[in-house]
C-alpha cells in the first residue's frame, strides 16, 4: 500500500512538472513576443511602403537607397567628352536645316535644346541662352503688340531650359545684388514657373522644387538669417519631428500591391484604370508629410505648393536635380538629412549631415554661416551616433570609403566615355557602354528592406495553438490531480 501511495505521489509530481512547463512556457513565450514585437518573427509582416507607388504611372518611385547613393555620388553621369561629342553632332545636324531646304520640324527643336544644354553643361550657360530665346521666338513669336501668346504645354522644355540657363548665368550676380543679374534671375524664375504651370508634374515635380530653391536663395540674399533657421523645405533647424508617420495604412491595398504582380505593374508603370485613382489616393495619403513650420518660407518660397506635401516629392526632386543637373549641393543635402532624420533613417541622416558639413563652403559665402551649419550638423550627428551606438570614427570611415568609391566609379565612367569617343565609337550606339558594365557590380546600393512598413499581426495560428495547449494542460492537470486525490482517499480508508 505504501508503495502505491509513493507511486501516486511521484505521478502527481510528474504531472505537475509537465503541466507547469506546458502552461508556463507558452504563456511566457507569448508575453515575451508581445513585449518585443515587432522584433520577433511570426509576430509581424512587411508591406511595401506607400511611397513605392509613384504619383504618376511610369514616374519614378522613391527608394531610400537612392538618397544614400546620391549622398555618396553612387550614380553615373556623363563627362565633358560626351557633351563635346554631342555638341559637335548636333551642330552638324543643325547645319542641314540652315539652307532652308529642310523644314524646321520637331527634331530641329530638340536639337536646339541639346545644343543649349551642352553649352550649359560645359560651363557656358551664357552661350546657350540666345539659342533658347531663338527657339522660343520660333515657337511663339511675339505678336504685333509685342506680347507673346499664352504659354502652352508643348513648349514646356523651352521654358524650363531657358529658365534654368538664365538662373545658372545670373544666380551668382543676383546673390551679390547686381541689378542686371537680379532681373535676369527673376526672368529665369518666371520661365521655370511658366514650365510648372503648363506641365506641373514633369520629372516628378522637379521644376516645382527648382522654383522653391531659387526663391529660397533669393530670400536668403536679402535675409541671411533665413539660412540658419529653416532649410529650403521650410523645416526649422532642430525641428523635433519634421516628417511624422501618419499611420492608418491601407493594409489590404498594400498587401495586394505586394502580392499581385499585375496590380503592381498597373499602378507603377500604367496604364492605370479610372478606379485606381481612389486606391492610389488612399495609399499616397498615408505617406509621411513634411511639417513646414517657417511662416517666412511659406510666404516667400512655398506659396504655390499644396501644404503639407509628402516627403517623397522634394526627396525625388533633390535626387533628380543632384544627379541630372547641378551635382552636390549642401542645401539639398541638409534637406535630405532632415527628411531622413524625421523618418528614423539614422544612418542615411548621419551621412546627409556629414555631406552637408563637407559642402559647407558652398552653403553661403559668409564663413560664420558656414561654421554655424557645421556646428548644427555635428550636434545632430552626435545624437544619431548615440541612438545607433556606433562611434563617429566608424561612421566617418565608412562614409569616406563609400564616397571615394562613388567618385572613382564616376571618374571611370567618364574616362571610358572619353576613351571610346576618341577611338571613334558613337555614344548613341546601344552597345556603347557594354564593355564598361561587363563584370562590374551595380553602382546602386541594395535597397534592402528600408522601403517597407511593419504590420503587427493580431495573433498567429501558432500562438493560438500555444494558448489552447496552456488551457488543455490546465484542464488535464486538474482532472488528473482530482483523480490522484480520490485514489489516495480510497487507499487511506
Amino acid at each position: 500500500m505504501d508503495l502505491v501511495q509513493r507511486g501516486l505521489r511521484l505521478l502527481a509530481i510528474i504531472v505537475v512538472v509537465i503541466v507547469g512547463v506546458g502552461f508556463v512556457v507558452p504563456v511566457v513565450t507569448i508575453w515575451l513576443n508581445a513585449g518585443r514585437s515587432p522584433s520577433q518573427p511570426g509576430r509581424y509582416e512587411l508591406l511595401p511602403a506607400p511611397w513605392l507607388v509613384p504619383k504618376q504611372a511610369g514616374g519614378t518611385a522613391l527608394r531610400l537607397a537612392m538618397i544614400h547613393d546620391v549622398l555618396h555620388e553612387r550614380f553615373y553621369l556623363h563627362g565633358p567628352a560626351w557633351f563635346h561629342h554631342r555638341h559637335q553632332q548636333v551642330e552638324r545636324e543643325l547645319a542641314t536645316y540652315d539652307d532652308g531646304a529642310k523644314a524646321k520640324d520637331a527634331r530641329y527643336f530638340t536639337l536646339l535644346d541639346d545644343l543649349a544644354v551642352d553649352f550649359d553643361r560645359l560651363g557656358k550657360a551664357s552661350e546657350g541662352i540666345p539659342i533658347l530665346r531663338r527657339k522660343l521666338d520660333l515657337e511663339q513669336p511675339l505678336g504685333a503688340d509685342g506680347k507673346r501668346p499664352a504659354p502652352e504645354a508643348k513648349f514646356y522644355t523651352t521654358y524650363a531650359n531657358l529658365g534654368t540657363l538664365l538662373a545658372h548665368h545670373h544666380l551668382k550676380g543676383a546673390l551679390a545684388k547686381d541689378p542686371d543679374a537680379l532681373a535676369g534671375l527673376r526672368e529665369g524664375l518666371a520661365f521655370i514657373e511658366q514650365s510648372v504651370a503648363v506641365n506641373p508634374d514633369a520629372h516628378f515635380g522637379r521644376e516645382r522644387w527648382q522654383v522653391v530653391t531659387l526663391r529660397y536663395l533669393l530670400r536668403a540674399s536679402e535675409n541671411p538669417k533665413f539660412l540658419t533657421t529653416s532649410d529650403l523645405m521650410g523645416v526649422g533647424w532642430n525641428a523635433s519631428n519634421p516628417t511624422p508617420f501618419r499611420g492608418g495604412y491601407p493594409y489590404a491595398i498594400l498587401e495586394q500591391f505586394r502580392d499581385d504582380e499585375a496590380f503592381r505593374h498597373r499602378l507603377v508603370s500604367g496604364p492605370r484604370e479610372p478606379l485606381d485613382a481612389d486606391l492610389i489616393g488612399s495609399i499616397r495619403d498615408s505617406i509621411p508629410v513634411v511639417m513646414t513650420s517657417d511662416q517666412e518660407w511659406m510666404k516667400q518660397c512655398g506659396q504655390d505648393l499644396r501644404l503639407p506635401f509628402t516627403f517623397d516629392e522634394p526627396a525625388l526632386a533633390f535626387v533628380g536635380i543632384w544627379t541630372l543637373g547641378s551635382g552636390a549641393n549642401p542645401h539639398f543635402a541638409l534637406a535630405l538629412a532632415h527628411l531622413m532624420d524625421g523618418l528614423g533613417q539614422r544612418a542615411i541622416a548621419w551621412n546627409a549631415y556629414e555631406r552637408t558639413s563637407e559642402l559647407a563652403g558652398k552653403f553661403w559665402s559668409d564663413p560664420a554661416v558656414q561654421q554655424e551649419l557645421v556646428t548644427y550638423c555635428r550636434d545632430r550627428q552626435s545624437v544619431l551616433e548615440r541612438l545607433m551606438t556606433v562611434s563617429a570614427d566608424t561612421l566617418r570611415k565608412q562614409h569616406h570609403a563609400e564616397l571615394a568609391y562613388g567618385r572613382a566609379e564616376q571618374a571611370a565612367y567618364q574616362a571610358y566615355e572619353a576613351e571610346q569617343i576618341t577611338a571613334g565609337k558613337n555614344p548613341s550606339d546601344a552597345r556603347f557602354y557594354d564593355a564598361f558594365f561587363q563584370g562590374r557590380p551595380p553602382i546602386a546600393s541594395d535597397p534592402g528592406e528600408a522601403d517597407t512598413i511593419v504590420r503587427e499581426l493580431p495573433m498567429s495560428g501558432f500562438d493560438l495553438i500555444l494558448v489552447l495547449q496552456a488551457v488543455l494542460c490546465a484542464v488535464l492537470t486538474g482532472l488528473m490531480l482530482l483523480r490522484i486525490f480520490s485514489l489516495k482517499k480510497q487507499l487511506a480508508s
Partner: protein, 93 residues
Amino acid sequence: MRLVLVIALVICTLSQPLPACINDSATKADEQQFASGYASARARRAEMNTFHPGMLLLVLPSLALLGVGFFWLRQERLMAAKRQQRLFRQPEE
C-alpha cells in the same frame, strides 16, 4: 568700401551651387538608367513572417502530458479489469 564688399561677395559666391533642371534628349534615358538600378528590388516580396522549426519544441510539454494521460487511463483500465476479475473469482471460493 561698399564696392570692395560687393566684389568680395561676388567672389565668395562663385562657388554657390546652382539648382538645375535640364530637359534634353538624354534626360529621360539618364533618369531611367538611374532608376533602373533599384527596379529589381521594387517587386521583391518583403515578408519576414517566418516559422522556425525549433518553435515546435514549445508543444512538447502538451504532448508529454497527453502521453502521461494516455498511460494513466490505460493503467486505470487495467486495474479496473483486475478488480473485476477478483470480484468475479470471490463467489467461487
